[in-house]
């Protein structure tokens, strides 16, 4: 598990190098980068969009990354640049959804059957809101968005050890809150039965 995580961090550290090579016209490096970005983008949009829209959003993001590759500064972190593009395209999708005629949206949404995902997202948001902002932020970045500890530290201006501590404490609080909720539900059910 630890080895796999380390390897993922190493791979991601290479993304900036691959993009810098791509900017100089290295098609093999670029193809390798796109191949690695694709699953990352799938993961990113799977947590934010209904399943029927994920594929579309990934393609949009890949095309945007291609069209705007000159805006990447090799001296800066690649992950922040790529997630900036992914985020913009996600918001674009949400805007398009609100602009779409009501009927069209309903048809599209009925394809996926994503009630459980929506419920989970709502519950998760509520649980994260009970944490300190620094804890919620690093849990969102590392555990939900797939950033590494190093990347989360860079994005939040926390030290790496503080990120780890905040994740650990935040998760412990979430576990305690979830256990409390489960106890409450059990007692409600018991009360109903009685």
């Amino acid at each position: 598990m630890h080895r796999r995580h380390s390897r993922r961090v190493d791979d991601r550290a290479q993304w900036g190098t691959l993009m810098a090579a791509a900017q100089q016209g290295d098609a093999r490096a670029y193809r390798a980068l796109l191949g690695e970005l694709r699953p990352w983008l799938f993961g990113y949009y799977r947590r934010r969009l209904i399943p029927a829209q994920v594929e579309d959003a990934v393609q949009d993001a890949l095309i945007a990354i291609h069209a705007k590759r000159h805006t990447y500064d090799p001296a800066r972190p690649f992950a922040a640049w790529a997630s900036g593009i992914a985020r913009y395209k996600w918001i674009d999708k949400l805007r398009a959804q609100t602009r779409a005629p009501e009927g069209a949206t309903q048809v599209e949404q009925s394809v996926g059957g994503h009630e459980s995902a929506v419920t989970s997202a709502t519950v998760l948001t509520a649980l994260l809101a009970t944490l300190k902002p620094a804890q919620a932020e690093v849990i969102r970045l590392v555990k939900l968005m797939g950033f590494s500890i190093e990347e989360a530290a860079a994005r939040t201006s926390q030290s790496e050890s503080l990120v780890k501590v905040n994740i650990h404490r935040g998760l412990a609080k979430l576990a305690a809150a979830a256990a409390d909720d489960a106890d409450d539900s059990d007692s409600d059910i018991a009360g109903d039965r009685a």
Partner: protein, 205 residues
């Protein structure tokens, strides 16, 4: 998704030069320099641009120039998608501070008259002078990938208006406080308001 899209993107790859905010700002400065040189070359520059400048002339030149530089840098930095903040509120604060400085400098100087005829002339000249930098900013915005196109477009529009007003300072001979405070403020605001929507559209991607 098949690999076809990834293959076609890789096949389409051409070398690109990474964009740089500093280089883009240099392009804007060069453009403003060319406009200023043209004003002098065509004999359209006002007299009295020497060491002993009246206070309001100094303000007419310096205040929009500082705002133009700050707004240009703000808009150009925002073209990096990794930047999630733009800084338009800070620009608003800077514009307000410049106006307050102008009001402060106006104390004890010749107030003058509003003179709408020359004022409208100044506003139109500023709009014409703002056009080249605003167009250049539009092209730079099209190449960028801002996280917030509307705010970035607004910052660029303020930059365009301020460049026009700064160059107007080289041309306008009226150093009356009333004229400077009203018409040279409008010389920034009117082109900025006019350019805000098109530039925000140009920033979308």
């Amino acid at each position: 998704m098949t690999d076809a899209l990834l293959d076609s993107l890789a096949d389409d790859l051409a070398p690109v030069r990474p964009r740089s905010s500093a280089r883009d700002l240099g392009v804007l400065l060069l453009l403003a320099g060319i406009e200023a040189a043209l004003l002098f070359a065509l004999g359209l520059a006002r007299p009295g641009l020497g060491y002993a400048m009246p206070a309001m002339l100094g303000w007419k030149l310096a205040a929009p120039a500082v705002l133009a530089l700050a707004a240009s840098a703000t808009a150009l930095r925002a073209l990096d998608p990794a930047r999630q903040t733009v800084g338009t509120a800070a620009l608003g604060g800077l514009a307000l501070a410049a106006l307050v400085v102008g009001v402060f400098l106006a104390q004890g100087t010749q107030i003058g008259t509003l003179d709408p005829a020359s004022g409208v002339g100044c506003a139109l000249t500023a709009a014409a002078l703002a056009l080249p930098p605003a167009l250049a900013l539009g092209l730079l915005l099209r190449r960028g990938a801002p996280a917030h196109p509307c705010r970035t477009g607004l910052a660029a529009a303020i930059a365009g208006g301020a460049w026009g007003a700064a160059l107007l300072g080289l041309h306008c001979p009226n150093d009356g406080a009333m004229h400077a405070l009203v018409w040279h403020t409008l010389a920034v605001a009117i082109p900025a308001l006019a350019a805000a929507l098109p530039l925000a559209r140009a920033a979308r991607w």
